[in-house]
Symmetry: C2
Subunit: 544 residues, 2 copies
């Protein structure tokens, strides 16, 4: 069995749930025919070119020879095909060769890429981050130098944040930038966990690097962002950045996770001095949404594989899909995937529509809810396979191993929860969340199936209470409930988006998914409420 | 950081929660001093001998040379130490060299073994299954031939059930047994997924094999159990059973998972003709409880590792354990582990006390709730480690990979749920469950902390309703809710056992674990109730 892009589910989530066509005025070139062509084309690339090298890439992994990283067999050809299709620049600035389409459409394309081959998908995802950082913070000459080649996919990009002592706490980073006479900086330090930080698929790699200019303030207020190309622009010479190690990981074996040593590498400041963290967050926000999508995507791949196995494998004279408990597992996957997909797409549509508050609110939910879902569904996929799920030959195990990174990178899910429950809710005093809750109540009240309607309205009420609780409770106390709050918000918003989609476009199949979600997920809202309010004192354990 | 047996938690669960000392009359030789000596000794073996070869075993795996399987380095010495300590025979019949102690004590010993090294633990676990099958179903001459050597650990045992087409549906197996003139049978067929089915740690391996005697009825009523030693007793000749393959698995790399080819191997019937499934279930019940324990054990190992990392790793100038979300993850692990431990021990105490109905009821709960917990906690352990959790060097990844098998083998968790919700509840019309629910209400009502008390009584009420619902609903409908019913039962019984323990032996630390469970788990009971009653119609999806 191979992956096939779930075009019908994707279109329902994008058009009916996430309301893509509210972007019609902003993106007059996009119409239904073009959307069809794009999704079909991406689906074909994913199914025919990327999925076939997913398992072989897992087995072969990458190879470090000196400071050169060799990609797994087939990845070069696949990347050439990706580049040739113009997929990297779908949502990029037309002034630099991009197609200027909505990010929501580009995100849907990336869904199929991530489903087919999570290791591969990280390469364009990181390049996209570099493109967005340059578009928003680069000087005109920097844009002129780099954007076109990144947008075409000729060169690729990376994000260099983490250092051994600085993970979630970026303020602790120590990489140094020393100003040079020519206006550039000499960058020295070590960066770890750099995805596709070195490889042989492109002639140049553009590193975006956080570092501290000599004499800058300590902590997060003294961090600047630099652009450090592997090969220098002026003379084409090899720059002073080298890969000195590749991690041996549990999954995404075909994606090189590099340790990069910077030894006086020539770099140029992007944006303002000491404002690097803000610039990096622009880039990270897009990456966070993309990682959330990745979680949904690996869940989709795991679900398709489990579904195919359950149809084929017979026990007791019938396919195992006939057994209620196997059906339950598959429905859990399908329903949650569709909710997660709708959340990710809705976040992208909000970004495209310029609804910044909504984009900001939905980003941590998309990231954390989407990636937790990836792990949960990959695990269910293994379970559906029984013994074959634990054997590597079965293929389900790879999804379980690959999926586990997504709740960790681009800001661990606990950080997302605190971002939502702290910065995002307090930032607008819960205004954007209130809009979503009100829509959940209205959509819920108008939903024809009474039982679903009641569940959605009740869960929205629980979310409203939890939000008020947050806006009034003492800070320390509240943070203990942040992860449960995020989970509750994802449950309610996902169901609301499905209900909203159904109010626009009736579908028996989608209605069944919503009903299943309502009975298995929305019914847990009041239980989550207690966990949200549990408070820090319940966590104070003398035995620690 | 290395594993240390959590003796205080274990003793609280065993003595206070599971009520070990109700066995005083049946086991007069056991007293507190002996228990202390046993648990300390087992803990030392686990920490000093088994834990140090856990990671190296994962990396080295096993080697198949021809039909010989070589264990990972260090496993031979470890097995010699295990054997020398007399650990295999702790609960076995003194007539054959066993120590005749309660199974509950042997189970606690196995907990430490599984925590330290899950791959290793499978070897004595399977031998234990063979010992119990022989003790209960073997003829006197069979006992005389095999028991002593199995109980001493000189020989090891296996269970041979699965065939390529016969997994959950054992009735479909086709391995043949042809009667011979000397009263033995010639066994031919192929068995897969045979744990420690071949290895070089013992001079003989005793296979218990399900096969069909020529002319026996089709389906599960024509299956008999045979004993097939690797080396024959009469002449010491190599028997016709060979390892023809070893699975490449996601985890438990140091435990060989073998494909065994039987080609006219000499075997002897155990128990009655065509009653093999019943005999195998005796053996499987013990194995199921042990696998549940294994889930709890791997969770404990993951928790200890995460706790050590969280104390050591600093971000923002303080150890990450100071952050509420990290605390939440660690408390989730600790609280659920203690509940799961209490359930497993209580199941063993019920077995020792001869309370068959309670043992039968608790077995599928221990297996499924314990192993789901293993996966959940291993995943949380990875998350606490952040990026280091995904890197193999960090060690957390191995627990995540290893833990995933436990919900699958010895009867997939969906099968356990159906066993509980079908056979076990219907078998005694819910009588044993009613006893547990009533105890939950009484213990809950008498519990001093009002909030915990209310939560426990309310959740017990939900379980009572769900049980009545099951006993009156139509069968097909009900099975769709079996897994949620089992999860609810585990939540309530685990909390009840902790509350029961606290009523006997006050402990601030254990009380905090119960309070955390009450707020995060018992509060979800009513949500589970809806999922239990969801019914088959919600699962009927036209798209399948």
């Amino acid at each position: 069995m191979t992956y096939a892009a779930p075009i019908a589910d994707m279109r329902f989530a994008l058009e009916a749930c996430a309301d893509l066509w509210r972007l019609r005025e902003r993106y007059p070139d996009l119409d239904a025919d073009l959307l069809t062509a794009i999704l079909d084309g991406a689906g074909a690339l994913a199914a025919e070119t990327l999925a076939p090298i997913n398992r072989s890439g897992d087995r072969a992994g990458v190879t470090l020879e000196g400071d050169v990283v060799r990609a797994a067999p087939g990845f070069r050809e696949a990347y050439e095909a990706f580049k040739a299709g113009g997929w990297q620049g779908l949502a990029a600035d037309p002034a630099y060769g991009g197609q200027g389409l909505p990010r929501a459409v580009a995100l849907a394309v990336m869904e199929t890429v991530h489903s087919a081959n999570m290791s591969f998908g990280l390469l364009p995802m990181l390049t996209l981050g570099a493109i967005e950082a340059l578009e928003q913070h680069g000087a005109p000459d920097q844009k002129a130098l780099y954007l076109e080649k990144l947008i075409s996919g000729e060169w690729t990009g990376t994000m260099n944040l983490t250092e051994p002592q600085a993970g979630s706490d970026l303020g602790a980073l120590t990489t140094k930038a020393v100003p040079q006479a020519d206006g550039s900086y000499a960058i020295s330090g070590q960066k770890i966990f750099i995805t596709w930080g070195e490889h042989d698929l492109a002639p140049n790699i553009i590193h975006l690097v956080l570092a501290r200019i000599e004499g800058a303030p300590a902590g997060s207020k003294g961090i600047s962002m630099f652009i450090v190309p592997k090969f220098r622009d002026a003379d084409g010479a090899r720059n002073g950045v080298r890969c000195i190690g590749v991690e041996e990981k549990m999954g995404i074996h075909a994606s090189p996770t590099c340790t990069l040593a910077y030894e006086g590498a020539q770099g140029w400041l992007i944006g303002e001095e000491n404002r690097g963290l803000a610039a990096m967050f622009t880039m990270m926000n897009a990456a966070r949404l993309n990682v959330g999508m990745e979680g949904v995507a690996v869940a989709e791949a795991a679900c398709q594989k489990a579904l195919a196995y359950a149809r084929e494998r017979k026990q007791g004279g019938r396919p195992i899909i006939d057994y209620p408990d196997v059906k339950r597992m598959l429905m859990t996957m399908r329903a949650k995937i569709q909710a997660g997909r709708a959340i990710c797409y809705a976040c992208a549509v909000a970004a495209d529509a310029g609804d910044k508050a909504m984009e900001d609110l939905l980003t941590p939910i998309a990231k954390a809810w989407g990636t937790d879902l990836g792990v949960e569904c990959a695990s269910l996929g293994v379970q559906v396979h029984g013994g074959m799920g634990f054997v590597e030959e079965g293929g389900a195990a790879q999804f379980y191993r690959d999926a586990r990174i997504a709740p960790i990178y681009e800001g661990a899910n606990g950080i997302q929860a605190i971002d939502l429950y702290g910065r995002k809710l307090l930032g607008d005093r819960g205004e954007a969340m209130r809009r979503l809750i009100e829509e959940a109540v209205i959509v819920g009240e108008n939903y024809a199936d009474r039982q679903v309607s009641d569940r959605l309205v009740a869960a929205a009420g629980v979310l409203r209470d939890a939000t008020s609780y947050r806006l009034t409770a003492a800070r320390d106390n509240a943070l203990a409930g942040a992860s449960d709050y995020l989970a509750l918000a994802g449950d309610v918003i996902g169901a609301m988006l499905l209900a909203r989609g159904l109010s626009r476009e009736p579908s028996d199949e989608q209605a069944r998914l919503l009903r299943f979600l309502a009975e298995t997920t929305l019914t847990r809202a009041s239980g989550r409420s207690a966990a949200i309010k549990i408070g820090a004192e319940a966590l104070a354990d003398a035995s620690y």
